[in-house]
Amino acid sequence: MSERIAIVGVGQTVHKSKRQDVNTAELCAEAVEAALADAQLTMKDIECVILGSFEPADGYSGPDKWIIPELGCVGKAGFEMQNVGTTGAVACATAFNMAASGLFENVLCVAWQKMDEAAGAFGRGGGGANEYWTGQFPMSPITNFARRTYDYMTRSGCTEEHLAMVRVKQDQCAQRNKYAQLKLGLTVEKVMNDILLAWPIRRLHMCPTTAGSAAIIVCPEQRAKKVSKKPVWVEDWFTCHQGGALTMAEDPQASTLGYACKKVYKRCGITNPKKEIQAWEVYEPASTAELRWIEEVGVAEDYKAWKLFEEGKVGIEKEIPFNPSGGVTATNPIGCTPVVRVVEAALQVRGDAEEHQVPGTINRALATGYGGQGENVVFLLKKTL
């Protein structure tokens, strides 16, 4: 890389199911205000702004045009990125590229979703490979993950109770995160008795709809050292998409996460991810997905992750600190969710995650974005260069 880069500021809104006091643009501005305050910079410093939103849930085709002025970014460089569920991740990757390119010193990345405005955005997402499928089958993340989980259970032999354990762990984490949306005080029993959406997915297993926004500020090395006492270095990233190559019918476990992780681990010389990465923020649209993701990122053996939950090894203070923020099942402003993962991973590395901080020094954290039918983006953040 020609320029090493660091995250010097992060910000997010308190995620809620509904925000009636602000419109979408104002919601973004809240996250930007927070990120600027965190970085101790002003809007004058920002030269380039990259936006990301999942447009089908926005009511816009190019919402950047309307939102940019609310962010005080008139006269600045930038553009908007989109890639279904990984939108926020692609926006982050774009901001990283813009900062590392040497073209800009201070790059702002903003993503949002105000899902209280979009009824039924999910009716359309994740349809399949072309217009034949879209709309003819009610495909949504719920049905996709029902299929994935069903397949996982068949292959691994885990039971519904294990799925509930995952959800309970996530809730325990979320309760310690002041930005998280759902804090429910769940028990395994409560989860198992919840409304069944599509077996084995219950309502509590699915990510909620959230109104929220998150922003990060990225600078190249010299600038980062100058403006920040605690820069979080971006070690590597890989946006690994499969572009509708497979439908869920063709492969219920279709995912590029394992492939993407292997690739970044190799590039960064990571041989033992479980040891070398101390915090994980992995995008699980359904709590049950966390089982497979733990395996794909190389922390557990294939189809054995459920045993870790049975043994109580996953949690903030536990052996595997997976999704200490509570993850996506607690908070899910779609287009912005991957940015929240990066923000949370950066907070872990800085040691600023407060209540849900993973104990010990976090030298390295991994964040991901998930979208479509198994598309993944992987980020590695580091404490020192």
């Binding site: 925000r19 009636q20 006091d21 602000v22 419109n23 979408t24 643009a25 104002e26 501005a29 930007v32 002003t42 809007m43 004058k44 089908p56 009511g59 002025p69 609310e70 962010l71 005080g72 970014c73 008139v74 006269g75 105000k114 209280d116 405005e117 979009a118 009824a119 039924g120 955005a121 009716g123 359309r124 217009e131 879209t134 709309g135």
Partner: protein, 159 residues
Amino acid sequence: MTHHIKKSVADIPNDPLVVEVQAYSNFTVTVGNTGNKFLTEIRDNKQVMGIKCPTCKKIYVPPRTHCPTCFARMSEWVKLSGKGTLETFTVVRYQEPYMPKEPPYAYGVIKLDGADTGIVHMIGGVDLSKIKVGMKMEPVFKEQREGSILDIEYFKPSA
């Protein structure tokens, strides 16, 4: 499944098709507190308000919460007469389903007195061929107002 005998596909036509698909979605647009104040004043008091940037001192209509150029939070409301000058206009002569009325009709940017910006709205109460840049304009409010920018029916030339 051994009984499957592969049939030839040669008899299936190849000519290109075009299929029509409708995609529906429902949105509930949140206006936000700033927009709420602006629209409520129009609805309840026929009052057009501007919002002032504390650093740039510019007065914006329609309002935003943050200044588009300096990102300062704006909260100072300024009462405006609603009257202004026509900065530019256009006459729409094509038809689209999202249009609020039958073409031809006119849009204009009306630079409001006391504000630093103009507002885009429809122009009415005048022969379309007689609209001129620089005309003095004033808003015509609807009788039944619901809290929308369309509570102003159009701007008409001041008498």
